[in-house]
Subunit: 428 residues, 2 copies
């Protein structure tokens, strides 16, 4: 039996990053090393700088230069260690020269395995790599590694990154609501707190703050998801009733909250104000509406990047899944599995049990996982018990990063330099 | 020798709350119990519900009903356990009936010690309690316990609450900047991240994010304090230069940033947009200016209540100081010290050493501690080495709260009911 020739692995981070996407990178590199040491035909992991942009520009980082300790440190590093990009591979007909270039880069670096770490659009890019391999006669496998704080990927129980964002947001809501409760009873009282979270089309992150509730009248009192058209009269009435009953009202609003016409409210408002589209802003907009309608003082926080980079408050379950997805992607790729995403399958809610199963990459791009109606309360303004049962295990367990003498999380990590290019430059 | 008659302690939380103000309450209650057990003439600690409002309304909570464990749990509870209020005691001439009422409440509950836990205005209220005692012939001492995330109290090295807010903000800036770095290199790149922090008149919290820097070009790249009038041309030029040099630019902006005319920018803008004053909003405003001027994509987070309630990321030094200030306030009050604030004195920067000393309450209300010019870099857009030396020890050490099975900090705490009133009702 002739030993198969070791082939290299191409890994890249695609789309917005998360608090644990680097754990997936760590899982990929660690598994590839272990397999190589065990004699498997696998070479080095080349990470593209800035996602697909780095593939096209042949900006590749040989992770072989990373010490084992540096690989392990990827577990505790938020952001995207190698840089990410929103660039996706277009279909061949739209841009044949990009396909040509990618094929050349794969050949030049003897890539046998392509691992794309991203969300919906990135899974389609992973799928196109399968096509690309066939078109150019390259012997490659392509595997998708799920990642998105939005949790809008289908065919997986959850996407790594979401659990940590959820843990951060639920904690923030619980903490801020204690502040609100303290400030709501005295003079010049604040009566409403609004937390604006990410989620353009899906309310998963907004919904996750329901986990902050530890009693019937605990915060959040209202959760406004993009799946439920905003009805100002109903929301104002609900806020007013909550203030009357509880003394204050805490609200989570998803950035993509839309009116009955389907248009996002924040964009509408900002287009009117500034003459151009500006994302974000639904939180302050809602605060202004509530303040104007009810005459109560409102506070508003906008979590923005904080919610997807808060590694200091990562979910241990999420971190473990992120690592496992990377490691398993390498194993499957080496076993010749291609055109699949490493999906998380839920075996039980409590205690949470899960394993990893392949999901076809086909068509993931066009199907967005929205919050289903039975995950919402009857009035559409909160989470149902079904949603809580789904969400609860995803934020379980702590996984603190080490702290330095400076009193801050120690995120030192040195990204190696790019490999010397083997091809002529390519401009994007 | 006749044993002195035990007198009760009145404690209240005044102004905005912090992540560690309840630790001060815990220190007060714990010290009073220990002293009483040792035979000192001290009774129970009565906490007013919702600050001074609760004193006037005779809404008092007898903390004797709290178990020792419940007192210790105050160390780990954000928000204000007994409720806070922005209500301050007016001078006698402005409102003699309020003085009359307070005196009646103090008499009815045999109060011998008044401990006011708050900021500048609250220290003046503490001082007025001394006057009130004299005017009504009450044998009371009044002691101020410093508390403010703004850190604008004079005569103390730092105010409890600030260090934890600073730790949270510096961590958030470090984490978000890793996200920004990852997103700045690819397609549809984000080039600027703005973190809006609290601080109407003083830039302490904004400045504290300088601690996130762990290298010469590390975030934050610009810090905009209320002490430095906003000069759009200079700031836009600095942002542009930073993007050219680093690839991206992270900015901290204090909510109270003002233009050359001294008017807060956020208020100006909101007054124009909405026809009424709306606080907050300088972050999104700045994002819009940068985006318009430089044509780069900006992200903006607004920390709001999150920065002062993030007990999950408290500074251990801050927590210890908060507790010590409460405990020492009781000891001093029992020793007959009155009209003083329990101030923190710095003995050394590194390693940080401190003790507690009395500071006169007189005139604290009118003097706000701003960021001094030598704490700013030469261009006024960053922290100086002097500022770093001052700030660094204040965020040292971790003090995680316990986490429950739900994956969230366990902040359960049951506030006892109000004592039955002994006086007729009083309406505010």
């Amino acid at each position: 039996m002739t030993a198969a020739r070791p082939r290299n692995v191409l890994y890249f981070q695609s789309g917005g990053v998360t608090a644990v996407i680097n754990a997936t990178a760590g899982g990929v590199i660690d598994a590839a090393r272990s397999l190589a040491q065990a004699g498997a035909p696998i070479g080095t992991v080349l990470a593209a700088r800035n996602g697909l942009s780095g593939v096209l520009k042949e900006e590749l980082i040989d992770t072989a230069s990373l010490s084992d300790e540096a690989v392990l440190r990827l577990r505790q590093l938020p952001g995207g260690a190698f840089g990410a990009s929103r660039r996706l591979l277009p279909p061949y007909d739209e841009c044949p020269d990009q396909w040509e270039r990618v094929a050349a880069v794969l050949r030049a670096h003897d890539i046998g395995h392509v691992l794309v770490n991203g969300g919906n659009g990135s899974m389609e890019t992973a799928r196109l790599f399968v096509e690309l391999g066939q078109r150019y006669g390259l012997d490659i496998t392509a595997v998708g590694l799920p990642k998105t704080v939005d949790n809008d990927l289908l065919d997986t129980d959850v996407s790594p990154g979401f659990g940590s964002a959820a843990k951060y947001l639920a904690t923030s809501m619980r903490e801020a609501s204690l502040d609100l409760a303290a400030m709501s009873g005295g003079a010049r009282a604040t009566k409403v707190f609004i937390l604006e979270v990410m989620g353009r089309h899906a309310g998963w992150m907004a919904l996750s703050t329901a986990l902050a509730q530890d009693g019937p009248d605990a915060a959040p009192h209202l959760i406004l998801c993009p799946e439920v058209p905003f009805d100002e009269e109903r929301v104002v009435a609900a806020v007013s009733a909550t203030i009357a009953r509880v003394g204050y009202c805490a609200i989570t609003v998803a950035e993509g909250l839309a009116g009955p016409d389907g248009k996002p409210l924040a964009v509408e408002r900002d287009a009117a104000t500034y003459g151009h589209e500006q994302l974000g802003g639904v939180g302050p907009w809602l605060a202004d509406r509530v303040q104007t309608r009810l005459g109560v003082k409102c506070h508003c926080a906008v979590a923005d990047y904080l919610q997807r980079s808060a590694r200091h408050l990562a979910s241990r379950v999420d971190l473990e899944q992120a690592w496992a997805v990377g490691a398993t992607g390498v194993e499957w790729s080496l076993a010749g599995r291609s055109g699949v995403m490493v999906a998380i399958r839920r075996l039980a809610d409590a205690p949470y049990r899960w394993d990893l199963v392949p999901a076809a990459l086909d068509g993931l791009a066009d199907r967005e996982r929205k919050v289903p109606p039975d995950f919402l309360s009857a009035d559409g303004l909160h989470a149902s018990p079904l949603a809580r049962a789904y969400l609860a295990p995803l934020i379980a367990g702590e996984a603190y990063p080490p702290y330095g003498d400076d009193g801050l999380p120690d995120y030192r990590w040195q990204c190696p330099s790019n490999l010397a290019p083997r091809l002529s430059p390519y401009s994007l």
